[in-house]
């Protein structure tokens, strides 16, 4: 019976080294690589990317300083940010949705390490956004557009915004693990953004840099602001979301809680200073 039924070659077990002690952080990079591939291959991400290409690539070329500058500094963040949010949220919540969370706790890698790997994987869409933004910049330059200085802080804010969106996706999956909540969060954020801009147009989450900076070659109307503090503001918001993502996964809950409190203060300070 055995000869007939056994399909394997009967190879002996491999001597596989395991992580020692409680530290499996060495494996977090491996897991992050796997999760990054899942995020980048996620249908939501791919469809969103296609949507961006259709909107920016097939539509009319941006004409004029304002439109060109705005396309380079805003369009990638504006479109890739939300799809990174949904893609990472779906990857982070796939265990709950597929039922894998019922048994994966029996595996030795802790939930803290797994969430850490997911947060690390968020760098992938951010890096992709950076490359895409540079490609858009070069494309516009290739036909002689954007005849003005592009500030590095404005370029850097694009991948950081996408990183923030991706990290927020993980945080929502971890803190609010219920179906439909990610959509509610996005609708809530957009609604708040629309409302706050009725109070003051420059308090919204998205303020067009073309309207913001005050170089001599910028078109009016100009709004004074500090792009460096804006970067700090974005990084602090991203860190705040990361702390939220880790909050439920560690026994030392006070660590991300304290980190979140500090970063919250940084958000307030940098948020004020960026407005000059």
């Amino acid at each position: 019976m055995t000869d007939l039924l056994v399909s394997g070659t009967g190879a002996g077990p491999t001597q596989v080294r395991r992580a020692s002690g409680s530290g499996s952080w060495a494996l977090v990079a491996d897991l992050a690589r796997v999760q990054a591939i899942r995020i980048m291959r996620h249908p939501v991400f791919l469809l969103g990317l296609g949507w961006y290409v259709v909107l920016v690539g097939v539509g009319e070329r941006p004409h004029g300083l304002y439109a060109e500058y705005s396309t380079v500094t805003g369009s990638v963040a504006y479109l890739v940010g939300p799809i990174a949010f949904f893609a990472t949220n779906l990857v982070a919540s796939s265990g709950r949705r597929s039922g894998a969370d019922e048994w994966t706790p029996s595996l030795p890698m802790t939930r803290l390490h797994r969430t850490g790997a997911l947060l690390l994987a968020c760098l992938a869409p951010a890096a992709f956004a950076a490359v895409l933004d540079l490609a858009v910049l070069l494309l516009i330059r290739s036909y002689g557009g954007l005849d003005m200085h592009v500030y590095w802080q404005h370029l850097a804010s694009v991948p950081i915004t996408v990183l923030g969106g991706a990290v927020l996706g993980v945080a929502v999956a971890r803190l609010l693990p219920w179906t439909g909540v990610p959509l509610v969060v996005v609708v809530g954020l957009v609604s708040f953004n629309l409302w706050i801009t009725t109070v003051d147009p420059y308090l919204g989450f998205y303020v067009d840099y073309a309207l913001w900076t005050t170089p001599p070659d910028m078109v009016p109307p100009m709004v004074p602001g500090d792009p460096s503090w804006h970067l700090v503001f974005l990084l602090a918001l991203t860190g705040l979301a990361a702390c939220g993502a880790l909050l439920r996964d560690t026994r030392r809950w006070w660590l991300p809680f304290a980190g979140g409190a500090v970063l919250g203060a940084v958000v307030l300070v940098s948020g004020t200073l960026q407005l000059a």
Partner: protein
């Protein structure tokens, strides 16, 4: 060595008492865990897989206490678990999914890990479909993927919850062969409600019903509890608890005792199991 010691374990979910004092132990070899649906088998196995904690009673796995965080981690590093309904990330290929689980099992060296992944995929006979996405596999193949992840890294304790559910006869035989190989030199807990699998594989069987252990012994001892309680007749006997017409045309009756003059036949493990579970159910109702 006794790898599993369960003593008076209870577990409730709200007002439902899933386990009401289960006691048993298991050592090297395949131990069958039999019980009807809703008997508490899956709850018990989830506890043994360190996914759930008991409300009361004591558990010892591989000589360690799963209630202690450090011990729990040590247990998880030596444990393989196939749940009843393993949720898969269906976008993964077979190889990628097993490799993903191997990372979660903390197998560090990438080259050795991939070699181990290929070994377990080969062991369950899925080498030909290693690159195929899980969503494209049949139910039987998915069960095999589940078994493959459970035996990754040569765990000392393997817990299999209903591994043969929904499989065709050939696949079930393949599983028997595989499980019997896994059980050589390590402890395997095999939960099922299929008595044929237990009779074929397990030198020891524990029967759980109504959240309690109602039998713990060898399959032949369990079969022996039905001696003289199975008889053939031309018609259904009113004294029988269960009766069915066989392919030969006789009615096989099983009950508390064969009536005088009845033609008794050697019982099977299934007969004994049905009588035992029936008794437990009656006792529970009376209580």
């Amino acid at each position: 060595m006794t790898a599993v010691r369960v003593q008076d374990v209870t577990k409730s979910f709200g007002r439902t008492r899933a386990l009401q004092g289960v006691t048993f132990s298991a050592g090297v070899g395949v131990t069958g865990l039999l019980g009807p649906n809703g008997a508490g088998k899956t709850t018990l196995l989830r506890m043994l897989a360190t996914v759930l904690a008991p409300d009361s009673g004591s558990l010892q796995l591989l000589g360690r206490n799963p209630q202690d965080a450090d011990d729990r981690l040590a247990i998880r590093r030596r444990l393989g678990y196939l749940p009843q309904e393993p949720g898969f990330h269906r976008g993964f290929s077979v190889f990628d999914f097993i490799d993903y689980v191997a990372i979660l099992k903390e197998l560090t060296d990438r080259q050795a890990r991939h070699q181990e992944v290929r070994r377990v995929i080969d062991a369950v006979g899925l080498s030909d479909v290693a690159g195929r996405r899980i969503r494209a596999l049949s139910g039987g193949m998915r069960r095999r993927v589940g078994v493959a992840q459970a035996i990754l890294g040569e765990p000392e304790l393997v817990i299999l919850d209903e591994p043969t559910a929904g499989l065709d006869p050939e696949q079930r035989l393949r599983f028997r062969d595989l499980v019997s190989r896994i059980g050589e030199g390590r402890t395997v807990l095999l939960s099922t409600h299929m008595t044929e699998d237990v009779a074929a594989l397990c030198p020891r069987v524990v029967v759980v019903d109504g959240g309690r252990t109602v039998f713990d012994g060898t399959p032949s001892a369990l079969t022996g509890t039905a001696d003289g309680r199975v008889w053939l007749a031309a018609d259904r006997d009113p004294a029988a608890r269960l009766a069915w017409r066989t392919a030969d045309g006789d009615v096989r009756n099983i009950g508390d005792a064969a009536p005088a003059g009845a033609v008794t036949v050697p019982p099977t493990l299934e007969d004994a199991y049905l009588l035992l579970v029936g008794e437990a159910a009656v006792t529970e109702a009376a209580a």
